[in-house]
């Protein structure tokens, strides 16, 4: 047996081009369905595991998929905004604990998630280094963000402008890294968490500046009366919240009208959850309440339907490839007729000849298997990122 493998190996390594082509064909055609299945399993795991532990999400009426993707996976598509009044509404119903989320801004390619400390308890997130966010302007980094950006508690991070050309729009805010979360192996590892009020400061709804009633520079004052001082646009708004200026930070207007993207509602029990869902059924309702599990289930059904089509296509391609490979082997055999006749003449049995040919096939398939395995291993290592890239961001 070893002799057959030896001779087969010599033949294969001599015919590099043919072997490489065959290995590539076999490896690819084996890799494709496995990689597809792996990615689908990973996407199902990622998407469903997160959806399964998030009971209800409330947001503006519209695409429930966009709402869920933005709320659970911090996807790029920002749903229509709702206000904090939606949070107060849930609180007043006394059926669930509401957790507001404002996922709109980003920093260095990572999403900024404005929320409250309730979110961390809900998701079971633990601070591994530093502390929990406490002051306006604090941020807490997901484990992977800290790793990628090489940041630790005490460092700072600047939010990204929403629109490169909107110079009068959202100002970058320099945030202080208060802590880094322990790895959770979820989307939370890739996010930068801030208090919801900090998110509003990023938006410009809250700001800090000098006391307008004590300004010495006249060019900073537009108009002054006994009851009101109007400042000019020259008045500098702080782009960083420090212990010296934090007391100047304030919010104009009613906080109840301030924007958020969604509310995660955690019902106190199943009955409360059912009642809560019922409260949003009216036709005049401008908000929708969704069960993330159902939405993701629908998405996965669609993905699996597409996968079935892809499977069919791959099967046809695999069949064609298999036929081509058989043809290559058959032609190769034909070309080696003389060699076969010679070794037969020398005293080689037909069985040994078959063994020699099978050994070649075996080694080719083995090498293909190794390459396929290596590719699958690589896909497995990066499955998380690939799924995020394909389905979430």
């Amino acid at each position: 047996m070893l002799d057959s493998l030896y001779i087969a190996w010599k033949y294969i390594s001599f015919n590099k081009l043919k072997t490489t082509t065959l290995v590539a064909c076999i490896a690819l055609i084996s890799f494709l369905p496995m990689a597809l299945q792996l990615l689908l399993d990973e996407s199902e795991r990622q998407l469903m595991s997160r959806a399964a532990v998030t009971p209800l999400v409330i947001g503006a009426k519209g695409s429930s998929l966009d709402l869920v993707m933005n709320t659970l996976y911090f996807g790029d598509e920002v749903p229509e905004l709702i206000s904090m009044a939606s949070v107060e509404r849930v609180e007043n119903m006394d059926l669930a604990m509401p957790i507001p989320l404002y996922v709109r801004f980003g920093t260095r390619g990572n999403p900024i998630v404005g929320t409250t400390p309730d979110y961390f308890e809900f998701r079971g997130l633990i601070v591994a280094a530093g502390r929990q966010m406490a002051l306006l302007g604090d941020c807490v980094l997901g484990a992977k963000v800290a790793e990628i950006l090489d940041l630790k508690p005490g460092d700072s991070l600047v939010s990204s402008p929403e629109n490169l050309f909107d110079l009068a729009g959202i100002y970058p805010l320099k945030m202080k890294v208060a802590g880094v979360l322990a790895k959770s192996h979820t989307t939370d590892d890739l996010a930068v968490f801030v208090d919801i009020k900090t998110a509003w400061v990023i938006q410009g709804l809250g700001h800090g500046h000098q006391d307008v009633t004590r300004l010495k520079d006249p060019t900073l004052i537009y108009k002054s009366s006994e009851s009101n001082v109007a400042a000019t646009a020259k008045l500098y708004h702080y782009t960083e919240i420090t212990k010296d200026n934090i007391d100047t930070f304030h919010f104009h207007g009613n906080l109840g009208q301030y924007p958020i993207t969604a509310v995660i509602a955690v019902p106190y029990d199943e009955k409360s959850g059912t009642i809560l869902r019922g409260r949003y059924l009216s036709k005049q309702e401008t908000r929708q309440i969704v069960k993330p599990r159902e939405v993701i289930d629908g998405l996965l059904q669609d993905i699996f339907r597409i996968k079935n089509v892809l499977d069919a296509v791959i099967s046809v391609v695999a069949l064609a490839t298999a036929l081509a490979i058989i043809l290559v082997f058959a032609l190769s055999l034909r070309l080696r007729q003389r060699e076969i006749q010679t070794i037969f003449k020398l005293g080689c049995s037909r069985l040994t000849i078959v063994r020699l040919l099978l050994s070649e096939i075996f080694i080719t398939v083995l090498i293909s298997g190794v390459f396929c395995g290596a590719m699958i291993f690589t896909v497995n290592q990066y499955a998380n990122e690939i799924v995020r890239m394909l389905f979430i961001r």
């Binding site: 002799d3 001779i7 010599k10 001599f14 060699e339 003449k345 020398l346 005293g347 040994t352 020699l356």
Partner: protein
């Protein structure tokens, strides 16, 4: 060494028939078989080697009735008792010269490949003047060197009989002489018998006996 009696053979396709009433070769003899193309010289070699079996008659090689052995028996007998040298050398391009020489040991269970055989192969190659070419591939060798490698392959199992089918057919005159010298030396050194099919009449005088094949065809 070879004893053929009342041999009759024909190919199903083509209608070629071969009839040999009597034919024998003595041990140690250097015999040349000549004849026109298609006269059945290669068929004779194949019958002696047991590659094909006659319809009638007996073929005895080294006192073994080859025609009466089964397939496996004939194969084993062939690889242990008979060395083949072909006109086109029939070396495998993808194996080194050493591997080509050792090839029979890798394709048959009747021969055992061990260190001793390796050493013998190297010595044989040295004797044939290709000792420094063992790691090369056939395409790197000249025609003469290739045939010498083929002869090494044939001689390595220490066969009792060497069947050479136009062994000098593709060689230049110098190499023809050289190859024939090597074959004749092998007959003496290894106490073997040589049966050569050839078209080369210039070389015939060097053989012990020459048989004209036209007498054997029906």
């Amino acid at each position: 060494m070879i004893n053929i009696r009342q041999l009759e053979f024909h190919y199903q396709i083509g209608g070629f028939r071969l009839s040999i009433p009597e034919f024998s070769v003595e041990r140690g003899e250097r015999l040349a078989v000549i004849g026109p193309s298609g006269s059945g010289k290669t068929t004779l070699l194949n019958l002696i080697a047991g590659i094909i079996i006659p319809e009638r008659g007996t073929i005895g090689v080294n006192n073994v009735k080859v025609g009466e052995l089964n397939d496996a028996g004939r194969r084993d007998f062939r690889i242990t008792h008979i060395g083949f040298v072909f006109q086109d050398f029939e070396l495998l391009d993808y194996l080194s010269i050493l591997d080509n020489i050792l090839h029979p040991y890798r394709i048959s269970g009747a021969l055992t490949l061990n260190k001793k055989v390796h050493a013998h192969a190297a010595a044989l190659a040295q004797e044939m003047g290709i000792g420094d070419k063992l790691t090369r591939r056939p395409n790197d060798l000249s025609q003469g060197e290739k045939q010498r490698a083929a002869i090494c392959r044939a001689l390595l199992p220490q066969p009792k009989l060497i069947l050479a089918d136009e062994a000098t057919g593709n060689l230049d005159p110098d190499n023809k002489t050289l190859i024939l010298d090597l074959l004749f030396r092998a007959v003496e050194d290894y106490n073997t018998t040589l049966l050569t099919v050839t078209h080369d009449h210039e070389l015939l005088k060097r053989f012990d006996r020459v048989v004209d094949f036209k007498d054997f065809r029906l």
